[in-house]
């Protein structure tokens, strides 16, 4: 809905009844096999990752999942991944590369989890590695920003060949609350912040940051049109010689 204000869009992106990453995975793939753990120390539940069939073709999915109730929110710390989560995602993306599976990343996060433990475990380093290694993956890599795309925590899974956004989603350098707090030392000026951040899909499409706006799907909706669209995108990308795919991807980010 292009007539929503930026702040209304922020609220829509955060709606608790929005379609979840888990529902999207369930609706888009069959035979989904979830994989756990970063093989170093932990399994971060903020990230759901695994292998599934998209129109009968194997793909790897890594997605950030918020909770739907308090218990799940605590377990998944409100969809803010820890370094272990980013390392799990990277492990699965590297595995996708090994088996020539395209990668679908689903992003819905206010940002990387800001706690002391995550700092000790190298949150900055984890995000930095997802960016630098993600950009070189030799398979098609497509991101959908489903709800919130907050800061480096979202960029860590959005360095691929295509970045799409749902109608009711946002993508910004920082949350509007954080922006208001830094710029005006007043976190209540969220509405102004949302306007200034130009975080709506329309603004970002116009700015060349994203490639396309995808119409909103609700829980329970038939996802076959989205499935076919992604299938088509992966097929198009897979037709490029791998070197050219990676070269184009790097050029995309070089132009910013």
């Amino acid at each position: 809905m292009a007539n929503k204000t930026a702040y209304e869009r922020v609220k829509a992106a955060r709606r608790p009844d929005k379609i979840t990453t888990a529902q999207l995975i369930h609706g888009l793939t069959s035979e989904f096999f979830e994989q756990h753990g970063d093989r170093l120390e932990a399994d971060d539940q903020a990230i759901i990752g695994g292998i599934g069939l998209l129109n009968d073709k194997p793909i790897t999915v890594v997605g950030i999942q918020k909770g739907t109730d308090t218990d799940e929110n605590i377990a998944r710390h409100f969809g803010s991944p820890t370094p272990e989560g980013y390392r799990k995602a990277l492990r699965l993306m590297k595995q996708a590369e090994k088996f020539h599976r395209p990668i679908l990343a689903l992003v819905n996060t206010p940002g990387a989890w800001p706690d002391v433990e995550s700092e000790y475990h190298g949150q900055g380093s984890a995000v930095a590695q997802n960016i630098i290694q993600g950009m070189q993956l030799r398979v098609p890599y497509v991101t959908i920003i489903v709800g919130e795309g907050g800061s480096g925590g979202a960029l860590a899974l959005s360095c691929g060949d295509r970045v799409f956004m749902f109608e009711d989603s946002i993508y910004s350098v920082l949350s509007p609350e954080g922006y208001a707090s830094i710029m005006w030392k007043d976190s209540s000026k969220v509405q102004e912040a949302a306007e200034e951040l130009k975080l709506t899909p329309e603004a970002l499409l116009k700015d060349g940051i994203i490639d396309k706006i995808i119409h909103e799907y609700k829980p329970g909706d038939d996802l076959s049109s989205l499935r076919d669209f992604l299938d088509q995108e992966f097929s198009t990308l897979a037709k490029l010689p791998i070197d050219e795919l990676v070269e184009r991807r790097n050029q995309r980010y070089r132009n910013f």
């Binding site: 995000v127 590695q129 630098i132 950009m135 480096g152 910004s172 350098v173 710029m183 951040l197 910013f256």
Partner: protein, 281 residues
């Protein structure tokens, strides 16, 4: 009798005497809180008590670290599309204070006989934040170093992304990362020196992508700031949780190097990486 000869001055008198000392004569270390005569910090601007390196401009750092330095892309600055008055004024002031046109100074320097690509972030230029032109300058530095087959030495000092440039600031993290990777694939050496403070989007990209990562003593190094942690999840971080020493203990820094030994250490590291590798042939 003694008492009368060494009369303790009154509190008011002491305050008056302290006020008479010009501000720049004495300096307090923000880390160990010792007070000392500014001159004792020397040209390296280091605390004589704990070794903390005070925040310095990029130009000064170039001068005290490298045997020679020649700037590139000196004119590159904030793109004209950003017209917000407050931001424009901030940038104007930053240029005056730092003597450079963006938050990073880039160029080709020498360490001993060896040429190196040099990037130095300036914490006095809008907190060393990562603007579009900052990202562009660093990207060009890596591209130039790749063409000339030179190692890169990068000093980071940054509050993170530049809010005023929004999503374009975020995209610089990816852009620079692409150039770092290309440099790395050419088999070239990249050494980072984390300076006070290195945080946010800079930590989450090129600051953590070096082959060797050094830090200055007591530099603050982290991703999420203390206030963000306190306000978002109501957790109170311990005092030194983001000091270089703590970060090193957790495995993200190779060595902590005092500023006075920086030139020598970098020269040694560069030479270790440029010697002919006879076993690898």
């Amino acid at each position: 009798m003694l008492r009368s000869r060494f009369n303790m001055p009154s509190h008011e008198e002491l305050v008056k005497r302290m006020d008479a000392i010009p501000d720049h004569v004495l300096r307090e270390c923000p880390i160990c809180h010792s007070t000392f005569f500014s001159l004792r910090a020397g040209s390296s601007k280091t605390c004589p008590n704990c070794g903390y390196g005070f925040r310095i401009t990029a130009k000064r750092r170039a001068k005290i670290t490298f045997d020679s330095f020649k700037e590139i892309d000196a004119q590159m600055t904030v793109p004209k599309q950003y017209t917000d008055e407050k931001y424009v004024a901030k940038v104007k002031k930053a240029k005056k204070v730092t003597g450079i046109n963006e938050s990073v100074l880039t160029g080709i320097g020498t360490l001993g006989q060896q040429q190196v690509g040099v990037g130095i972030m300036d914490p006095f230029f809008v907190m060393g934040s990562l603007g579009s032109a900052t990202g562009e300058k660093i990207t060009r530095l890596f591209e130039e170093a790749t063409r000339k087959k030179l190692p890169v030495v990068m000093f980071t000092a940054s509050g993170g992304a530049r809010m005023q440039e929004g999503i374009h600031s975020l995209m610089q993290m990816a852009k620079v990362s692409g150039a770092v990777e290309e440099h790395s694939r050419a088999g070239l050496f990249y050494v980072v020196v984390l300076c006070d403070p290195t945080t946010g989007g800079v930590t989450a990209s090129f600051a953590m992508q070096g082959d060797v990562i050094l830090a200055e003593p007591h530099a603050l190094v982290g991703f999420a700031g203390r206030r963000v942690i306190e306000q978002t999840i109501m957790q109170k971080p311990p005092k030194d949780f983001q000091s270089a020493e703590t970060v090193m203990k957790h495995g993200f820094i190779d060595a902590i190097v005092p500023r006075k030994e920086m030139n020598q250490t970098l020269t040694r590291l560069i030479s270790l990486h440029t010697k002919e590798n006879v076993y690898g042939k």
